[in-house]
């Protein structure tokens, strides 16, 4: 009998250093990192689940996915791994972090092809320190008792768990593919690598103003030549030049006619509208 292979994308982190929810960040194509990770993993496994904490179940980025809620009293990603193994003890689990902006098809396809079900786990060797990368790895069902015992002993590091286990370590086809982005600096580096249009130092943006912003700007629209990379940076720049009283926190933003994320990369000729607090009705 073949062991089923299930996927688990980890999205239960607190994103403290990033200062915003990493799962919700859109690096490419207006798709959240979480959705991108789920889609990337889907062809390689029978079914993909998303690992969440109890208080994240209805959160908009996560609520549309099949979820496994942390049941295990442990902190960090190991709680998600153990919870998945408790839900489907006879399955192998492909664990994947959601904060890998450079993750590519070759990396996943290579792991799928070279996974060895006779070992405890199959993982990549980190291109930085040579240690196992525990958050893009397949954990075979036989690791379940050992992992539970490891947690019961008060240990929480999945990397050390894989070091002690009979883990097959693969060399990554793309050494950057598993670099994670944890800080706002990491975010900008990843953004500019993945979105070459951000490397252009100046872009022309058409800005339309409504209501209080129209009155304070003294115009309905203008074309701005700006170094701003995102609508948030653009608003901060315009707030200075037009003495807008509203802060970005009280606004929403639309790009090319639809609501957009404040960190969406701007391209030249984008049409941007900042939306003050609404008062229809």
């Amino acid at each position: 009998m073949t062991t089923p292979l299930l996927g688990l994308v980890l999205a239960g982190g607190r994103s403290t250093r990033m200062q915003r929810d990493k799962a919700a960040i859109e690096y490419r194509d207006g798709q959240t990192q979480l959705a991108a990770a789920v889609e990337a993993l889907r062809p390689h496994v029978t079914k993909v689940f998303v690992s969440v904490r109890e208080d994240q179940r209805t959160e908009p980025t996560r609520r549309h996915f099949d979820q496994i809620v942390d049941q295990v009293a442990a902190s960090g990603p190991i709680a998600g791994i153990a919870s998945a193994q408790a839900v489907a003890p006879n399955a192998a689990w492909w664990i994947l972090a959601c904060d890998l902006p450079f993750l590519d098809h070759a990396t996943l396809a290579n792991l799928a092809a070279r996974r060895d079900p006779d070992r405890d786990a199959t993982a990549y060797r980190s291109s930085h320190d040579g240690l196992p990368e525990p958050l893009c790895a397949v954990y075979e069902p036989r690791t379940r008792d050992a992992l539970a015992a490891y947690i019961a002993a008060g240990r929480h590091c999945p990397r050390k768990f894989l070091l002690r286990a009979n883990t097959l370590l693969l060399d990554p086809p793309n050494p950057r593919a598993l670099d994670n982005a944890n800080t706002t600096d990491d975010y900008w580096q990843a953004m500019s690598t993945l979105n070459p249009q951000l490397a252009v130092s100046q872009r022309e943006i058409r800005v339309q103003y409504f209501a209080i912003l129209r009155e304070q700007a003294g115009r309905r629209e203008e074309v701005i030549t700006t170094q701003a990379r995102t609508p948030r940076e653009l608003y901060d720049e315009l707030r200075g030049s037009h003495s807008f009283t509203l802060t970005a926190d009280s606004l929403r933003v639309a790009i090319n006619g639809d609501f957009a994320d404040w960190s969406r990369p701007l391209s030249t000729n984008d049409a941007v509208v900042f939306i003050p607090p609404v008062a229809g009705g």
């Binding site: 609404v278 229809g280 009705g281």
Partner: protein, 151 residues
């Protein structure tokens, strides 16, 4: 006519009512938001509505589609005024007809609540003392969650 629209002229309620008549429907519910003569302790003399119409139209259609799906109603429309309005004018109109009253009431309530909170429409009030202000954007930002000067 689309399910959600703007009007720069007074809303023709009789023709809207007629457009929702349907022999399969046993209930019709409508809501009118009126221009009131006071808000937040100030005497209001007139209003102006301004909209980012392209996005508001798209979002308005989405709101009505959501109401239709959620409550199983087919006939639902909403018209919102733009431009200058005097006291007692109808600023927004919502109508729903449905086989039974319960879904008509609920869909109508859903549409007006979502339209108020989601559509890029702004209201400037003119006061008896000569002042004016954009509602939710000035002087009263802390109460932005709980404005109900018209609807």
């Amino acid at each position: 006519m689309t399910a959600f629209s703007f009007s720069a002229e007074p809303i023709n309620i009789a023709s809207l009512n007629a457009s929702l008549r349907d022999v399969t429907c046993g209930g019709f519910v409508s809501f009118e938001g009126w221009v009131r003569d006071h808000n937040e302790g100030q005497r209001v003399t007139a209003l102006e509505y301004e909209a980012f119409e392209a996005l508001a139209l798209a979002e308005g259609q989405r709101v009505i589609a959501e109401a239709q799906q959620r409550f199983g109603v087919e006939n639902a429309r909403c018209v919102h005024r733009v431009g200058a309005l005097g006291l007692e004018e109808v600023a927004v109109w919502v109508g729903v007809s449905a086989p039974h009253r319960d879904e008509a009431f609920r869909a109508c309530r859903y549409i007006i609540d979502e339209v108020k909170h989601r559509l890029p429409i702004w209201k400037k009030e003119h006061y008896a003392n000569g002042d004016s202000g954009w509602v939710n954007c000035e002087r009263c930002a802390v109460h932005a969650h709980d404005h109900a000067s018209v609807a």
